[in-house]
């Protein structure tokens, strides 16, 4: 509270100082209130058009048609696309758009702009997510329940069949979900200086997604993959009243977000149990598992912000947002297993709440043409007020009851304070040299590192405006340090005492990035970028130790005129990380403190990216022609290492994970008349992948023995090769 008060007083001092200075500058030209321009979303009338076509695709055998259409609907058939119509006068613009009509990824949009009075737009956007068309499962999902035929369950329970055989009876189904997003925005300009804004957005998500549930560590199956139902809706509402002129602006507003889930609970059958059993192999065997899915929640915020311009081309802005996140869903019983004792819950609902306060104070000043200053203080407080929940007793996996096992929840909260200061000096018109400093302090609750502080220094060079050369580069050095850890707390939860979770660990970070454009002639440009990052985590022996990246790209563009555009860009990325652990049992087992059991994982992710494109617009009479080739080729490795005097068995190294995507596009259009064009498009898509975790497996029940540990649904990363041809007619008016 005191911090907040002091900060607000400092901000008021800034405002007062600037206002005072402004009043003492009579030599300034007389001010005339000039209303600020509307928000920058200038819609053009453009050209009215509509496109009719027909599309067909040939896939090679075994192609993953779902992955190729992951976020798009590319089914064969007639298409109506790129509908654009607008009417514009000197007083208003009205515009409608439609894409992919009749397909799962269709989109509709409209805008109305009565210049200087009202601006409105709406959009309806459908985003499909196609996971797989080869998924197969014994389960049938209805509402929030995934069930298996009782006869199959009984056969498995009585061991008259095996899981390996039974899963073959599962139905093949499409695993997909979709997101429908409807949004509308209105800006009413009551006066040239005053706007009232209202926006509404509603996102409806339905379908299924890959999920899993477990019945215990050692059971068979211990885990079942499932298609969890998705049926939820998020409504976002924002309103604001805004004032602005050439000297100042102010805004008060409200933002709300309301999440409603029609399937808050998910229940799934145990494949090998029709009924709950009190004792199977020492633990209870439940007939069903039951999870809490995402609970209904609300977020509400009130916002006030404003800014004022001062002498010396200075501007001070202040922002304050006060809000809350709440969730008070009814709690499920501890277990769905009827053979286990009922555990009394200390409260019937979650009572989850967080108060959120965000502040941002910024001061920018350009007292001379060569100097520029900026200072910013930002604070974000996530005050988690959820009461601690204690279980008393506990049930794991709906199967293992432990009396007196008390788990205590940890309602994490944090407050971030960030102070930034930057100064820029321009010794020449097109050159900027900037030095900056950031101090970031993060105070936390319920984490082993209560406070971290990071100091970051940075320096950048920006050379722009020279006709033939643009150069931008920045270097950052950061040092993050945390308060001492009570190592006994780590040992108490079974963690190695010298572990530090990487997000709160001491960290040394260096980053440099640069981009250069060279334009030896007006029609030719070359570009190059480099990005290098190094993160080292001192003071920790386990967890993430190093995290590095190297990113380079080169390219050139040849644009001899506005009808020809040829470009090539190649990029190479390498991300590496080193992490460490120790294979051990908890104390008092001596393996817990035996360094000979240490191991490391050295991961590397290398990617090559290539983009080539050639546009020929009316080079050949009445034609528009485009050829493009895009490639992204990635290879990831995870290499285990052991201590020199290791006592654990050498690991069998994991195979590399590869993802290689290629797309070639040939797109042509011939204008029979200025209003009527015919054309075609050809896409070649190729995706090759190899993934030890998500690639093809020997079966759906693994291992393929009498006691599989996991039953899967066959959601895989599979390759595809597709050739798509589309013919189209475009009408413009």
């Amino acid at each position: 509270m005191r911090t907040r008060l002091s900060t607000m007083v400092a901000a008021l001092l800034l405002v007062a100082g600037g206002a005072l200075a402004q009043e003492k500058s009579p030599a300034s030209a007389p001010q005339q209130d000039v209303a600020a321009a509307p928000a920058a979303s200038a819609e053009f009338a453009g050209v009215n058009q509509i496109e009719f076509g027909y599309r067909g695709t040939m896939y090679t055998t075994g192609s993953d048609e779902a992955r190729r259409q992951r976020y798009a609907d590319l089914r064969d058939g007639a298409t109506v696309d790129k509908f654009r119509w607008a009417k514009t006068t000197d007083q208003y613009l009205f515009k409608v758009e439609a894409d992919h009509l009749g397909y799962r990824d269709q989109r509709f949009a409209g805008a109305y702009n009565n210049y200087g009075k009202v601006k409105a737009n709406f959009e309806w956007n459908q985003i499909p997510l196609y996971f797989s068309n080869t998924t197969q499962s014994l389960y049938t999902t209805s509402g929030g329940t995934a069930s298996i035929n009782d006869n199959v369950q009984l056969a498995l329970q009585n061991k008259t069949t095996t899981l390996v055989n039974a899963v073959q009876l599962g139905s093949v189904f499409d695993l997909r979900s979709r997101r429908y997003v409807g949004s509308a925005n209105v800006i009413y300009s009551a006066t040239p200086n005053v706007d009232f804004k209202l926006s509404v957005k509603n996102t409806d998500r339905q379908g299924q997604q890959p999920w899993a549930g477990s019945f215990g560590i050692g059971g068979s199956p211990a885990t079942v993959e499932l298609a969890v139902p998705i049926d939820h809706r998020t409504t976002e509402l924002a309103s604001a009243l805004e004032f602005g002129n050439s000297r100042a602006f102010g805004k008060i507003g409200y933002e709300g977000s309301f999440f409603r889930n029609n399937q808050p609970t998910f229940t799934w059958d145990n494949p090998v149990r029709v009924t709950d059993a009190a004792n199977v192999g020492g633990t209870s065997a439940p007939a069903i598992g039951r999870e809490s899915l995402w609970p209904n929640s609300n977020m509400n915020s009130a916002i006030v912000t404003g800014g004022v311009n001062f002498a010396g081309r200075s501007r001070a802005t202040a922002f304050l947002s006060v809000g809350s996140m709440t969730q008070n869903a009814a709690l499920l019983p501890m277990t769905a297993n009827s053979t286990l004792p009922v555990v009394a819950l200390e409260r019937p609902t979650a009572q989850a709440e967080a108060r959120v306060v965000a502040m941002n104070y910024n001061l920018t000043s350009r007292p001379t043409n060569t100097l520029w200053f900026n200072a910013r203080y930002r604070q974000y407080q996530f005050d988690n007020r959820t009461p601690i929940f204690e279980t008393g007793s506990y049930v794991n996996y709906d199967s293992a009851y432990t009396a007196g096992l008390n788990h205590e929840s940890e309602p994490f909260g944090y407050t971030r304070h960030t102070f930034d200061a930057d100064m820029s000096y321009s010794p020449a018109t097109y050159l900027g040299l900037r030095a900056g400093y950031t101090r970031a302090q993060n105070d936390r609750t319920f984490r082993v590192v209560e406070q971290t502080t990071e100091d970051i220094g940075r320096f950048s060079v920006d050379l722009t405006g020279v006709t033939w050369l643009t150069l931008r580069g920045v270097y950052e050095h950061g040092k993050l340090r945390g308060t001492p850890v009570e190592e006994a707390e780590l040992i108490a939860i079974g963690e190695q005492p010298s572990l530090r979770q990487f997000d709160i660990s001491d960290r040394d970070r260096d980053r440099v990035s640069a981009i250069v454009y060279v334009m030896p002639a007006s029609f030719l440009s070359f570009s190059g970028t480099v990005g290098i990052g190094r993160e080292h985590y001192p003071g920790t022996n386990f967890g993430l130790r190093d995290n590095n990246n190297n990113v380079y790209s080169v390219g050139f563009d040849l644009v001899p005129n506005d009808r020809v555009n040829f470009g090539v860009s190649y990029g190479w990325e390498k991300y590496t990380a080193l992490q460490a652990s120790r294979t051990s049992n908890p104390l008092p087992d001596p393996t817990f403190v035996d360094p000979r059991r240490d191991w490391t994982d050295d991961s590397a992710d290398k990617v090559n990216t290539l983009d080539v494109s050639l546009d020929l617009l009316k080079v050949f009479p009445k034609t528009e022609f485009r050829i493009a080739y895009d490639m992204s080729d990635a290879r990831s490795t995870y290499v285990y290492g052991l201590a020199a005097n290791t006592t654990i068995a050498a690991p069998a190294q994991l195979p590399a994970v590869t993802n290689a995507q290629r797309r070639a596009t040939v797109d042509g259009k011939y204008f029979l008349t200025p209003h009527f064009a015919v054309g075609g498009i050809y896409w070649y898509d190729d995706y090759q992948t190899s993934d030890f975790a998500l690639g093809p497996q020997p079966g759906l029940a693994l291992p393929a023995t009498a006691s599989p540990a996991i039953v899967m649904i066959g959601y895989r990363y599979l390759p595809y090769t597709a050739n798509t041809i589309a013919a189209r007619i475009t009408y413009l008016w």
Partner: protein, 341 residues
């Protein structure tokens, strides 16, 4: 647990800086020296609308006939610059009905609102005698634009990351020859504009785990606002990275009965929002990602090697750790202490 200060005098430093700045501004203001834009002509021309200042000023008072006569009017401009005149009136900048636009502010002065008075340029015919954006520093260019674009989406431009790096408005926008359907950009889409500088992010978007950007369903501006914001990383929505993510992924917002600390603080601890070669856009593959924090003993500390893969270990294949710990973003179940329910 109570937070402890490490003794860094942040409040003192901020207050001291504020006092120094206030004093400096007061001295500058009292001295009567006002910063001047780069000279574009004879002294009389400078008192024209100071487009390089952060505030737009009115045309010079009519008491100075010479200054008043320095404006020639749009009709004169378009006698040579016909194409630019047409393009302006096709855009929002040229809509006379809107008193906020260059065309609507002062009758017939639309071109000179931004380019300054044109008399000298008309008399000499030299391009140096009028304000040309490609001859100005980035901040001088921007001063012209923010004289009007100073609220709404542009309220936080000054001091933003792009402002700090001397990115000019005309680096991305074209007033006279835009190529996009909206935002008056130099490229066809906002994403193409961003990709000219942000090559690393552009390459990430092309990876197998990606948001639907290349499918045309999202753009960079779906999450970011390039003009500055009150959120970090110029995120458009919310006041933190998590609030921005939760605007679409509200089911992960919580708060939950049982929280996953790393996810509560920052979604980007585990996910790369621009793209990754791992499932679910994770920064590394599970279980290795989880083992960056969970070392402990027993199965979190086990080496999951090719032998485990061959035996179909449920801790490696498929969703790996999340096969069991399904509610990894937080659980509302009484038995969800380890996110198993």
């Amino acid at each position: 647990m109570k937070p402890r200060s490490d003794g860094f005098p942040a409040r003192t430093l901020v207050t001291a800086l504020a006092l120094v700045w206030s004093t400096a501004i007061a001295v500058i203001a009292a001295s009567g020296s006002t910063p001047t834009p780069p000279p574009v002509g004879p002294p009389a021309a400078r008192s024209a609308p100071a487009a390089t200042a952060t505030r737009a000023t009115a045309p010079p008072p009519a008491t100075d006939p010479a200054q008043a006569n320095n404006f020639v009017g749009e009709e004169t401009c378009v006698t040579c610059h016909e194409a630019e005149g047409k393009s302006i009136h096709a855009s929002l900048h040229g809509k006379v009905q809107n008193a906020r636009t260059p065309a609507g502010r002062v009758a017939g002065q639309s071109c000179e609102t931004c380019h300054g008075p044109g008399q000298k340029h008309v008399d000499s015919g030299k391009k140096e005698d009028i304000r040309r954006f490609n001859a100005m520093s980035a901040r001088d260019q921007n001063g012209t634009c923010v004289a009007c674009h100073s609220k709404g989406a542009h309220a936080e431009w000054q001091g933003s990351m792009h402002d700090a790096r001397n990115v000019s408005c005309v680096s991305c926008h074209s007033i006279h020859a835009p190529k996009s359907e909206k935002f008056q950009l130099k490229t066809a889409t906002a994403t193409e504009t961003c990709e000219t500088c942000h090559k690393q992010e552009a390459m990430k978007v092309k990876k197998s785990g990606h948001m639907p950007v290349r499918e045309g369903k999202l753009e960079c501006t779906s999450c970011h606002t390039p003009h500055g914001s009150n959120n970090v990383r110029m995120l458009k929505v919310g006041n933190s990275i998590n609030e921005a993510c939760a605007s679409c992924h509200a089911e992960k917002r919580g708060p939950f009965l049982w929280e996953h600390a790393a996810g509560r603080e920052n979604c980007a601890s585990c996910h790369d929002p621009h793209g990754s070669n791992n499932d679910r856009m994770l920064v590394a593959k599970a279980p290795m990602l989880c083992q960056r924090c969970h070392v402990s003993s027993r199965h979190p500390a086990t080496i999951y090697d090719a032998t485990q893969v061959a035996s179909g270990s449920n801790r490696v294949v498929g969703r790996a750790c999340v096969n069991c710990h399904a509610q990894i973003h937080g659980s509302n179940h009484p038995a969800g202490a380890q996110f198993l329910r």
